[in-house]
């Protein structure tokens, strides 16, 4: 029995990093702050959460995870201004996987104005 639970724990821990790469919370991201500057190419807003495709200066296409509508509303982020072609800067954390061009945004900078999606997180 002990042996079996040990094996189960081993299997679970081996599977954990893959699961943790998921987009809920920050566990899949790198600890260091990350800034992405680019131009919005695609916009999907609304529940379960918003997603932007942003083209960086080096032409790389990034997937940026935003918040739910209520979070954007509380941050004062004008969702209507998130449109293809608009220049945008995003601060937050990128995926811990260096090959994955994906980040979770904590702050959105549009036309010089910073919108803090997570004011309780420093």
């Amino acid at each position: 029995m002990r042996r079996r639970s040990f094996v189960a724990a081993l299997v679970a821990s081996a599977a954990a990093p893959r699961i943790a790469r998921a987009h809920h919370g920050w566990r899949w991201t790198e600890g260091a702050e990350f800034t992405l500057e680019g131009v919005i190419r695609e916009v999907r807003l609304g529940n379960p959460h918003g997603i932007l495709t942003v083209e960086a200066a080096d032409k790389a296409m990034w997937v940026v995870e935003l918040g739910q509508p209520w979070r954007h509303a509380e941050a004062g982020l004008p969702e209507a201004e998130l449109m293809p072609g608009v220049a945008i800067t995003l601060e937050g954390h990128r995926s811990a996987d260096p090959d994955e061009l994906r980040m979770k945004a904590e702050r959105v900078i549009l036309a010089g104005v910073t919108y803090d999606l997570y004011p309780d997180r420093s």
């Binding site: 699961i19 987009h23 809920h24 529940n47 379960p48 509508p69």
Partner: protein, 152 residues
């Protein structure tokens, strides 16, 4: 099909759910309640079919657990449709989502084939097979469903 998906996505219902603050997480919770009722009731049935708890008559178990499982499935399907509507086109294009639907259909068909009095006429070997299939299918449904939330 594309028109239908676009119509679902553009419906007033999907639109309100998409921008809601409380309703979306609430519907999400209903989905969990539905699958908890389904799996929680079908698990003892499957285990009984696999040969555990033999002292408990199958008839009594099915009488109580079947309706609970069926109600749980109904709730999970209804809430699942609501969650689906928010990004219908996107979900419909996901292989994992299609696989999940196929698994749900298989699990439901497997359960229906064992409905009512027929269950007593089934050979023990076949009963075990059906129980194992049911258990594995619903586990796979849960894993697939959970995984969907982690894909783009």
């Amino acid at each position: 099909m594309e028109h239908l998906l676009a119509a679902i996505e553009g419906s007033a219902f999907a639109e309100s759910l998409r921008w809601s603050r409380w309703t979306y997480p609430f519907v999400n919770a209903l989905h969990v309640v539905g699958l908890a009722a389904l799996f929680g009731s079908i698990l003892p049935l499957d285990l009984r079919m696999l040969g555990l708890f033999r002292s408990v008559p199958l008839a009594g178990l099915t009488q109580t657990l079947r309706p609970v499982a069926a109600s749980g499935l109904a709730l999970a399907v209804a809430s699942g449709l609501a969650l689906f509507s928010v990004r219908a086109t996107e979900y419909a294009a996901m292989p994992l989502f299609r696989a999940k639907l196929a698994l749900v259909a298989f699990g439901a068909a497997n359960a229906l084939l064992l409905t009512g009095p027929r269950i007593h006429a089934v050979r023990p070997g076949l009963l075990r097979l059906a129980g194992a299939a049911s258990l594995l299918t619903w586990l796979a449904v849960i894993v697939a469903g959970r995984w969907l939330g982690y894909l783009d």
